[in-house]
């Protein structure tokens, strides 16, 4: 888990949740952090902008998306994968 991706993702999530980055733990869920459905799509938009990637996420049924949002760690791993795919 690279620090740069992790730190950026946590910064985006923290801003969305109006928390300090230190309050966002890797095992936190979006629900724990009080991020609702609009907050989630806004976070995904911010992630796409920050890393210049396309996140395969469909808000109609988030659990069926390829993009794992079950925890902050899962989101960081998914973003790392997308960033790596883009470089490849």
């Amino acid at each position: 888990m690279s620090d740069s991706v992790k730190d950026k993702v946590i910064a985006i999530i923290a801003e969305q949740a109006v928390l300090e980055p230190s309050d966002v733990k890797l095992d936190s869920t979006l629900e724990d952090l009080g991020i609702d459905s609009l907050g989630l799509v806004e976070s995904i938009f911010a992630i796409e902008e920050a890393f210049d990637i396309q996140v395969p996420f469909n808000a109609n049924d988030p659990s069926e998306s390829e993009f794992d949002i079950s925890s902050i760690a899962a989101i960081v791993r998914a973003v790392e994968g997308l960033v790596a795919d883009q470089k490849a």
Partner: protein, 402 residues
């Protein structure tokens, strides 16, 4: 049928950020129109407007709200807060289930549209912010008022161009008069002073480059404004029972369609709406002391409107007062009737008639008492508010002193 009264009013517009500041400007005949400050203004040939100045969203809304509220929604919420606070109403239990929000707007979230077209077409971006749709939709303002104040009854947005607010307030009047609801929050909002909004109006070639001078022989077109006004319409017995201050009573409303031209106004269509409002209110023409004119400052509107007033009022047309406050706050398009209702209520409640400023030369086709340049003290018992929209859709409200 139930009686309908107004128990709260709020606004933000080029003349002030609240009702007292706006009424003070009406009394002073102060002009809120000036050079506009927006992105790419140098590409516009029209560079004046009634812009809301000294307004910082951060002073009123948090970051998440600003991300979700277009400027027209922000204006609406500012005005709604003032109006509902004045009314003293709290919406809970049964009242919250019937109280609703009916607002007018023409362009909705035009700034949001403008910014996002710019980002995809001009900057070539292929990704837009996820809130574009919930920000720009015409009903966003009504929905946010409903959510903020727990208003769960009939709520919707009316879009009839320059008559949107009057049509909206007419619907609010009908909802209460018919017994469907005891309280409706109503009015309108517009925020079209963005590059695309002004550029579109430029195309029509009806805009003035220097001032809005309704009814004056040297008038040369309209000037856009922006802002919102919101009112609390309440069923009379409900207001009385809780000891609310009644600002004015809404007594009549009529709507007509010209069915003739998409931009040119019709004397008959306007006259039928004015006469219809009087008939609905069971008033005689001689009861009316003041008309807040549509008075856009275009050649076509002002002479057509004066002719329609002469048709309906006959000899009394020369005795009543008729002024256009658009000369001060500009034409707020879908929000204009709402801001103008503030002048109607001021006339009834305070006995002060807001002037038509910028009036320089009499026009033989507009020879009514337009209250030129200076406000006037006069006691009036009944007032009308005219709105005649592009598309030939007319809406006139009648109000009586409380």
């Amino acid at each position: 049928m139930k009686r309908v009264v107004i128990t709260g009013q709020g606004t933000i517009n080029a003349l002030g950020h609240n009702v007292p500041a706006t009424l003070a400007a009406f009394r002073e005949g102060r002009c809120g129109i000036g050079e506009i400050d927006i992105r790419d203004v140098e590409r516009l040939s029209i560079r004046i407007g009634g812009q809301v100045t000294g307004y910082e969203p951060e002073d009123h809304f948090n970051r998440q709200q600003i991300a979700l509220y277009d400027r027209f929604t922000q204006f609406t919420l500012m005005a709604a807060r003032e109006a509902i606070m004045q009314s003293g109403l709290e919406f809970c239990d049964e009242l919250s289930h019937e109280a609703g929000v009916v607002l007018g707007t023409s362009g909705g979230g035009m700034t949001t549209l403008d910014e996002n077209y710019r980002s995809v077409f001009e900057e070539g971006k292929n990704r837009v912010h996820p809130f574009v749709v919930p920000k720009l939709m015409n009903n966003a303002a009504a929905s946010h008022v409903s959510m903020t104040y727990n208003l769960r009854g009939p709520s919707f947005t009316v879009a009839t161009a320059c008559a949107s607010s009057n049509h909206a307030m007419g619907q609010a009047f009908h909802l209460i008069r018919s017994g469907i609801s005891r309280v409706i929050v109503t009015g309108g909002s517009e925020s079209m002073l963005c590059f695309g909004g002004i550029k579109a109006w430029e195309g029509l070639r009806v805009m003035s480059k220097d001032a809005c001078r309704p009814f004056s022989a040297n008038r040369n077109g309209m000037v856009q404004g922006e802002g919102a006004a919101v009112f609390v319409f309440e069923e009379y017995d409900h207001a009385r029972a809780r000891g609310a201050e009644i600002l004015a009573e809404v007594v009549g409303f009529a709507m007509t369609a010209d069915a003739s031209d998409i931009v040119m106004p019709s004397r008959q269509g306007a006259a039928r709406a004015i006469a219809g409002a009087l008939r609905d209110a069971k008033l005689a023409p001689t009861d009316v002391g003041y008309i807040n004119a549509h008075g856009t400052g275009t050649t076509a509107n002002d002479k057509t409107e004066c002719a329609a007033v002469a048709d309906v009022f006959g000899a009394h047309a020369d005795r009543l007062m008729i002024s256009s406050t658009k000369s001060m706050h500009g034409h707020l398009i879908g929000g204009t009737g709402a801001v103008e209702l503030l002048a109607c209520i001021m006339a009834l409640k305070d006995g002060v008639i807001a002037p038509t400023i910028g009036y320089e030369e009499p026009d033989p086709e507009c020879m009514l008492d337009v209250v030129p340049n200076e406000a006037r003290e006069a006691q009036v018992d009944v007032v009308l508010s005219n709105a005649f929209a592009f598309g030939g859709l007319n809406a006139v409200l009648a109000l009586r002193r409380a």
